[in-house]
């Protein structure tokens, strides 16, 4: 897919199998650019209220729009179509295999607008289209690390080169968790404001393990060991054990990793002899999930207990 800073061509949307586009009218203008991530349903736009119809947005015609146009008298309909299409829209997608009427197609053609027909109902069409467009238009960032799904959570394992990220990830894959991307993960913000990571197409399913070379996880462990993309929930940073550094001893640190304006919980894990990282990471995840579901940390539980329990009686002489 060619990347264009100004937008994406309608022809590229037609190629998306998930949109189930079956027919195209006014194909001559299929290279029009969509420059906005949100699809738009014209709704009132057809009645002449154009204030919020934006030229760069792909338009979706559902039963409402089709029904409204059909209800109009011919003269009124022509005026309405002319006004609407004169906004120079990039393209129209008609949902639910509704047959576009000849005068819609002619009206669209006058202003160089292609008309596409999809089999999908309006709601899934809009949601699939916006999921795709959000990913396409989102600011992207590459992060160094291994992205995995561990216990349903997206975890990015980071750390300096040679610290053992891939080896730890391989152990986790061996335990049954899924790999999304090794070494470099690409992130974007989806329509729910979640940070979602995936692998670059070139290195998808691949992992580099020193001594073994580049291995294909999908070939070796099967399709259940890999995932296409995953929302990022936690960052685990591996670092060389530094005796001078203060590590979290009580489980009270709440650190965050900042990326694209969002904050993701962060755990710093020191790497040292005798520390089985994959097991520590598994336990870190269990602990993370417990905290997420509202369990108190040891320290919180302890201080709450101290606050409610009556203080123990001061040792007095009578005990002697």
């Amino acid at each position: 897919m060619t990347k264009d800073a100004k937008g994406i061509q309608v022809s590229q949307l037609r190629e998306l199998t998930q949109l189930k586009i079956t027919r195209v009218f006014n194909e001559k203008w299929i290279h029009n650019l969509v420059s906005h991530p949100r699809p738009q349903r014209p709704g009132l736009g057809l009645t002449g209220y154009f204030k919020h119809i934006q030229a760069g947005r792909i338009q979706i015609f559902g039963k409402t729009e089709a029904g409204y146009l059909r209800s109009l008298k011919d003269e009124e309909k022509q005026r309405c179509l002319k006004n609407y299409f004169s906004l120079k829209l990039p393209g129209i997608i008609v949902s639910e295999s509704i047959e576009p009427e000849p005068d819609w197609i002619a009206g669209a053609a006058r202003y160089a607008t292609p008309v596409l027909v999809s089999e999908l109902h309006t709601v899934p069409l809009v949601s699939r289209l916006s999921a795709f467009l959000y990913q396409y238009f989102s600011k992207k960032i590459k992060l160094n690390g291994v992205l995995m799904d561990i216990m349903g959570q997206g975890v990015l394992i980071t750390g300096a080169s040679g610290i053992g990220k891939s080896e730890t990830a391989l152990e986790l894959v061996n335990k049954g968790y899924q790999l999304i991307a090794d070494d470099v993960a690409e992130f974007y913000i989806d329509s729910n404001d979640d940070l979602v990571g995936r692998a670059n197409e070139i290195i998808k399913n691949l992992m580099e393990v020193r001594g073994l070379g580049i291995i294909n996880i999908n070939d070796i462990f099967g399709a259940s060991a890999v995932l296409e993309e995953k929302k990022l929930n936690l960052v685990i940073n591996l670092e060389k054990w530094d005796p001078k550094k203060k590590y979290d001893r009580l489980g009270e640190d709440n650190l965050y990793f900042k990326i694209l304006g969002l904050e993701v919980p962060l755990i710093n894990l020191p790497v040292g002899p005798g520390r089985n990282l994959s097991t520590i990471i598994e336990v870190a995840l269990r602990n993370f999930l417990a905290k997420k579901s509202g369990r108190m940390t040891y320290l919180e539980a302890r201080s709450e207990a101290l606050a409610t329990e009556p203080p123990p009686a001061a040792p007095g002489r009578e005990e002697e």
């Binding site: 590459k142 160094n144 040679g162 290195i203 992992m207």
Partner: protein, 89 residues
């Protein structure tokens, strides 16, 4: 931190074998070394990272290094590019 613009001369570009040589060389230095191409910045010590650039012959990339041995690192890596990764006679 120092930077150097570097052209890719070998026919195959930064394919797997060249990327392996490059990351091997980068790992010999303690400096942080990055390759920048088309707004993408990857760690030169990461083989898979280099592959994601898909940089080919004739493209220009930027080498960036920061650390005590940054000068030596940039020189050695630049030479490797100039020698066409020892692939062609």
């Amino acid at each position: 931190m120092i930077e150097k613009k570097q052209q890719i001369f070998n026919k195959l570009g930064l394919h797997a074998r060249a990327a392996a040589k490059l990351s091997h060389m980068a790992n010999m230095y303690s400096a942080d070394i990055y390759l920048i191409y088309n707004e993408d910045k990857v760690n030169a010590k990461s083989l898979l990272g280099i592959l994601t650039l898909a940089a080919s012959v004739g493209n220009e990339i930027t080498l960036q290094a920061a650390g005590v041995d940054e000068q030596e690192a940039i020189k050695a890596i630049g030479d490797l590019f100039d020698r066409k990764f020892d692939e062609e006679g």
